[in-house]
Amino acid sequence: MADTAQSSSSEILAVANVSVSLSGREILRDVSFRCDAGEFIGLIGSNGAGKTTLFRVIMGLIAPTSGTIRVAGKARSRRNPLIGYVPQKIGLDPDMPIRARDLVGLGIDGHRFGMPRPTAKRNALIDAMLDAVDATSFANARVGNLSGGEQQRIMIAHALISRPSLLLLDEPLANLDIRSEQEVVSLVARVAKVQHVAVLFAAHGMNPLLPVMDRVVYIAGGRVASGNTEDVVTTESLSRLYGRHIDVIRVHDRVLVVAGREDEGLHHAELAAPPGSA
């Protein structure tokens, strides 16, 4: 069930009938959804479903073969200062002499020529952002020495410090244990709420996001189904999306999405968190 595209003053992102082909393969097909200011949207899909490609199109790095993308009412362009991006693989080199606060500082003005001017205002901005992501304790540590989760928080701070309107996170929960998953989700939701930033959070499964998600965009085989969770995540809706029988089972406040039949490239049974572990 697709949202109809309506232009409204609070609309941050409008993706309309976007198709993308790369190297002769169609990655995205007739994708449409929109995102309003401050909304938290989960982009749910498995590997190869097209999440990263969708991000790259939104950021203006790939041109769609058809369809349009509008960010805050304007056509998408390269280097849109309204979009912040946190990549999936961060992997910083421990030999690099750069501190967490330096990297966050580059989020303010790293795209401009010249050298950073260490004014009190700039430092205050950096300190505030570090505090918002609970990174003050390792602000002066070398970025390459931080753990994966800590590096991720620094990259979130880097993306948010320039006050974007839209934050894209590419599978931040990959390789995290359940508790860390919950920490990242609540951190992002909290900071995004404070800054009134719209969030497009890509993930394999939606369960960690259920507490904070406003709407869901479910992506499979290059097509999407977007809307409220209750409407999109149903047996009928997902079966239509995947083109085969899918069962959606609700256990307490968790959702279990089960493929009707073993098949490659398909979303396998998504394990729900055991009740009471929240």
Binding site: M59, L61, R78, R79, I83, Y85, V86, P87, K89, I90, L92, P94, D95, M96, P97, I98, R99, D102, L103, L106, D109, G110, H111, R112, F113, G114, M115, P116, T136, S137, F138, A139, N140, A141, R142, V143, N145, L146, S147, E150, M155, H158, A159
Partner: protein, 274 residues
Amino acid sequence: MFSQFMINAWEASTIVAVVAGIVGFFTVLRGSSFAAHALPNGAFAGAAGASLIGASTILGLGVFSLLGAVGIAILGRRARRDVATALTIVVMLGLGSLFLSMSTEYAPEIYSLLFGEVLGVSSNELLPTAVIGMICIAAIIVLYRPLLLTSVVPDVAETRGIKGHWMEFAFLLVVALVTTMAVPVVGTLLIFSLLVSPAAAARSFTNRPLAAMGLSVVLALVTVWSAIALSYTSNLPIGFFVGTIGAVTYAIGRGWTVRRRLTWPAFGGASLRP
């Protein structure tokens, strides 16, 4: 050691060391030590070619190091960076062997270009060396922020409009400029060593980028001054001292890094120094 004759050597090498320390910071950050080796050595072929047609050595160096930078940048778009650099250097050296075969007589300077003859610097070479050196430093200052960002997190830099390919090309151009100014003064071996070892050692001792750059300059100066002094007193080649001192400082740096990791359990997870 401080005769009028030697003053030029001290001054010229100081200029080169300062520039090498600053550019070396980014050379090491970007892991471009192959390019730092390829451009000076390849430029040498240009000097041979210039000597052949009677043009100035600096012109030959400049043209060939520029061609080298272009070659690495263009080939590097399709292939891995190290393959692009390898192909570029062998093409330049292949041309160099052609030029060398065409004449039996070459200006004596060009032989010193390899292992360095700091002692052969004349006073009227100092000014152009300093001027080009200032241009290199200015270029690094201008490129500092985007170059730092793209070197550390290239994916994110790309989304902020910093095109990695153009940054790589710009950086290679700076290295080409450094090559042009430094090779006549210190030779290819020294400029390569000074671009890599001091910065590689410096980053073991500080977490701040600007401090690392400053320390890199200090180490480059210490290296080259010690090497001149030792070479003067022992009569052994200066390249030997530069290479050895470089390796020793690098080893000390790595040892310090290992020690930090072993003895400070909170290392990396807690705030240590301001």
